[in-house]
Subunit: 198 residues, 2 copies
Amino acid sequence: MAPGAVGKSEAKTTVSPAAVRDAALTLFAERGYHGTALSQIAAELKIRTPSLYNHMRAKQDLLRDIVADTTEQVWADYEEAVEGVDDVAERLRNATRVYALRHATHRREALVVNRDIASLEEPARGNVLELRRRHAQAFRGLIEEAGGVDRESATLAAFGILEMCVSIARWFREDGPLTAEEVAAKYSEYALRIAGLA
Amino acid sequence: MAPGAVGKSEAKTTVSPAAVRDAALTLFAERGYHGTALSQIAAELKIRTPSLYNHMRAKQDLLRDIVADTTEQVWADYEEAVEGVDDVAERLRNATRVYALRHATHRREALVVNRDIASLEEPARGNVLELRRRHAQAFRGLIEEAGGVDRESATLAAFGILEMCVSIARWFREDGPLTAEEVAAKYSEYALRIAGLA
DNA sequence: CCTACCGATCGGTAGG
DNA sequence: CCTACCGATCGGTAGG
C-alpha cells in the first residue's frame, strides 16, 4: 500500500452490521418483512444492494436476529422483574410494567416480532414461539396464584394484559403527552384490575 | 349450443368472486398480503393463476375489499350497539362486547386489517384509517363521559380496551373452552374495570 | 377455464 | 465498496 496512492481506501466503514440491522428494523416495522426489499435497505444506507452482503449473510438472518434477540430480552426483563419480589400482586405489577415499558421504548422491535413471526423460518420460529409461550404461561401463573379470578379466567386475563401492552408499540409517541414510564405505570395498574386485584 | 355437444360447458362455476376472496382472506391472514402470491390463491382453488382474473381485477382489490368491508362493519356494529342505550357504562359495555365478538367470529378479517393496512393503497388506506379513528374517538368519548378516570387516562384506556379486543383474533379457537360470546362478555367486563367503572 | 408469455423485481453471487 | 449478472418468481395480459 503506497502512502497516498489511493484516497479511496481511507474513507471507508461508514456502514456496519449494526447499521444494516437498524435500517432493516425500521423498514420491517414500517412495511413488514415481505414488504421490504433489500434494495430499500441499501438505499437507506446509501449503498448498492450487493454491498449489504459485506455486513450480513441473508435477509432472513436480519429477521432472525431481530426477533430472537428481542424475545430473549423480554424473558430476561420478566425474570429480573419478579426476582426477589414476595407479594404476587407486586410481581404481576412489575412484570406488566417492564413488558409495557419495552413496547414503548422498543416500538420497532415489538412491531416486527408481532407481525413477522410467520415469516421466520425454522428452527428460529419454534424457539421464539416456545419462549413466548413460557412468558405467557408465567403471567397466567401469577394471575392464578394471586387468586383474584377463577382459573378459567386467568388465561383470558393473561392474554388480555399481554396484548394490551403489545398494542403500546402501535400508538406510543416519544413526543406524546405521557412518558414511557407513565404509560407503563398506568397499564400495570390496568393489569391488576383485569386480574381482579384492584 | 347443440345439446350434449360439449360436456365441458356444464361443469362450470366452481369458482366465484366470493370463493377467490375467501381463499385470499385465509392466505393473507396466514402469511400477510406481501407474503401471499396469487399463484398460491389459485392453487387453493385448484385453478391456474390467470384464471383468477375472471373473478377479480387485481390483487390489491382483494385487500381493499376485505379491509374496507370489515372496517365498515365494525362501525355499523358500534352504532347499533350504543343506539338507544341511555346508561353510558352500558353503552361502553355493549360497544366493547360487539367489538370483541367480531374479533372472535371474524378472526381472519381482523388479522388482515390489523396487519396489512400499510399495504393498502390510497385512497382506500386513508378512508379506513379515518373510520378507525372515528371508532377509537367514540370509545374515548364514552370513557370520558362515564367519568371513571381522568381525561388524560381516557385515551390510554380506550387504546388498551380496543387492542385487547383485537388480540382475541390471535388466540381464539372455536373449539376452545369458551364460546365467542363468553369471551366477549368477559372482555367487556375488563373494559369497565379499565375505565374505572367496576 | 387454459397456455404462452410479458416486463419488473426479487434475493443473492462472481469477481474484482 | 462497486458493476455485471444469475435464476426464480412476481402480478398481470393476450388470445383463445
